[in-house]
């Protein structure tokens, strides 16, 4: 058992005209090789920033990022290049993340050429590789010269996946890869991603706001709220025994597709507070029905509640 990716006390702050925005605030975790870590949270909780910072698409403000036990935090663009091949990302919006002027062929070819995986001159080998990856993700060969606008959302997302796979990576950040897709197409893409993981042993960081998706695909889940991890647990245990009041509210808010299911809903008051210059203390205290004076003043650290299950709450 070795960790492929490890993050220690990672922070990413953005300077805004109104103050410092704490997008990711002191986050620590690791992902085992071949496993999926799910990251859930609502819009603005910093989950996408987290994914991008790990890939160094954002420069971290402080903290450390390790990939295969090598620290990559301080590496510059040139030094990062060999790592780029091994760390890939699938973006949320299949309508915006593909170059509209490149065909399916060109999009996948670019991945292959940029890391010199095939010789630029060997057109035959490129063609063979491109077709191989299209086949792998289930895009019909007749679409090889199609432009993104000719494809529907599900197929575009498959192109996005093929582009990431073409580099033969070890680690893939999946930033809401199925959120823009219809239910039946979403299930097809989820199945595809699981099949690929089983076949190639990929490690995923799977970012989503959809709790049923995250439960389905993850081995371990972290729940984020305003840049902080509030709870971390193996997927099954998180759903069976949520500890943090925010996790509880989040889980109870999921509409269950069963008319006999009577939800014991916890309706949260208010909305996400501002991530700009947050006051010290529990970020969730303003919406929490159990909040007391102890929750304010100092940040609440993650605490082990059972084996492998941590929560940042004084009640835990």
């Amino acid at each position: 058992m070795s960790d492929l990716v490890r993050v220690e006390n990672l922070k990413k702050y953005f300077a805004t005209p109104h103050g410092i925005l704490h997008a990711v605030d002191d986050v620590t975790f690791s992902i085992e090789r071949g496993k999926t870590l799910g990251v859930v949270g609502e819009s603005g909780c910093g989950k996408s920033t987290l994914g991008r910072t790990i890939l160094k698409l954002h420069e971290p403000t402080s903290g450390k990022i390790f990939f295969e036990d090598k620290e990559i935090t301080e590496l510059n663009g040139k030094q990062m290049k060999p790592f780029r091949q091994e760390m890939q990302i699938i973006f949320q919006d299949p309508f915006a993340s593909l170059n509209p002027r490149m065909t399916v062929y060109e999009t996948i070819e670019e991945s292959l050429l940029i890391q010199n995986l095939v010789s630029r001159k060997d057109k035959k080998a490129i063609d063979k590789k491109v077709r191989e990856y299209m086949d792998l993700v289930g895009i019909a060969a007749r679409l090889i010269n199609s432009y993104p606008h000719e494809l529907d959302g599900g197929r575009r997302q498959r192109v996005g996946i093929a582009r990431a796979l073409a580099l033969n990576p070890k680690f893939i950040v999946c930033d809401e890869p199925v959120s823009a897709l219809d239910v039946s197409i979403r299930a097809q893409v989820l199945n595809l991603m699981q099949d690929l993981q089983a076949q190639f042993g990929f490690t995923y960081l799977f970012i989503t706001h959809d709790l049923s998706v995250v439960k389905h695909i993850s081995d371990e889940i972290i729940v984020m709220y305003l840049g902080k991890i509030v709870e971390k647990a193996p997927a099954k245990r998180l759903f069976a025994n949520p500890v943090h009041p925010y996790t509880k509210a989040l889980l109870s808010a999921i509409p269950v597709p069963d008319p006999d299911f009577k939800a014991n809903r916890i309706i949260l008051q208010g909305e996400l507070t501002s991530p700009i210059d947050p006051e010290p203390g529990c970020r969730f205290a303003k919406r929490c029905q159990f909040a007391c004076d102890k929750c304010r003043g100092a940040d609440i650290p993650l605490k082990e509640v059972e084996d492998g299950h941590q929560a940042a709450c004084i009640l835990a």
Binding site: E42, G154, V183, A187, H216, P257
Partner: protein, 325 residues
Amino acid sequence: MADTLLEIKNLKINYETDDGIVEAVNDVSLRLEVGKTLGLVGETGAGKTTLARSLMRLIPSPPGKIKSGEVLYGGKDILKLNEHEIRQIRGKDISMIFQDPMTSLNPVLTVGEQIEEVIQSHNPQMKKEELHESAGDMLEMVGIPRDRAGEFPHQFSGGMKQRVIIAIALACNPKLLIADEPTTALDVTIQAQVLDMINELKNKLHTSMLLITHDLGVVAQNCDRVAIIYAGEIVEEGDLHQVFKKTAHPYTIGLLGSIPSLSEEVERLNPVNGMMPDPTNLPKGCKFSPRCQYATERCKTEQPEIRDIGNGHLVRCFMKEKGNE
């Protein structure tokens, strides 16, 4: 059975474009009962929004064209009303909540003015102070302090904007509320807040609702009846128990199989294979047959009728014919 508020009969809507005729809604019949919520579920391009807009006569024409059918409301066919008559109904008897709260408010008017606008157009005799007062009341009803009436949409968050839109929709106490994916753009905790509020207000004001969504979970928790639409046709309709527990149509089974379960451990999802058919070139026979694992030769040539398989559970599938079960 409760009284009928609105009845759609054999409605057929096409969009006539340069690239061909898009058959958006095909022979849809639905009945909305007083005080009840009907869920309309389908994927992108199934014709949900076109159907909803037709009830308020908001289909852009051209290219939209209502080929046949009736929408009966209070004994009148909405589709035959003139522009003046429909404007009396729109916003007053029937109102609509649109999907995207970010784009459906006017950015240069305050939210108060936008609520007043709809009240004023149906109550032209009202004085300015009265309008102001009732707009404030509406805001409070949806949980926004009335002193925020002077603020602009950009000063509100997504959930708050959707509340403002709900306030506008309910301002004239409509009999029918059409909610077109009212919570799709919202986070799950905010979605729970907004749906709870819609339900509470609906019960208080005895409003009927047509809730359009692609989320079967939202339907199961909020509707009385549900209709599943595929390629412009209703393929299954019934009360919640019939559709969720005695699911009959292969498409509905596929939809339910696509959702990862929270209570059970499912290793693999069982989605419907393939994609939605091109609406300019719908398959012959059953529109779902190319994706259906049970399809026979007959399904590919002959169009199944929708039929009652017991207690108002309607299904459009040959498998459910008598003697075929």
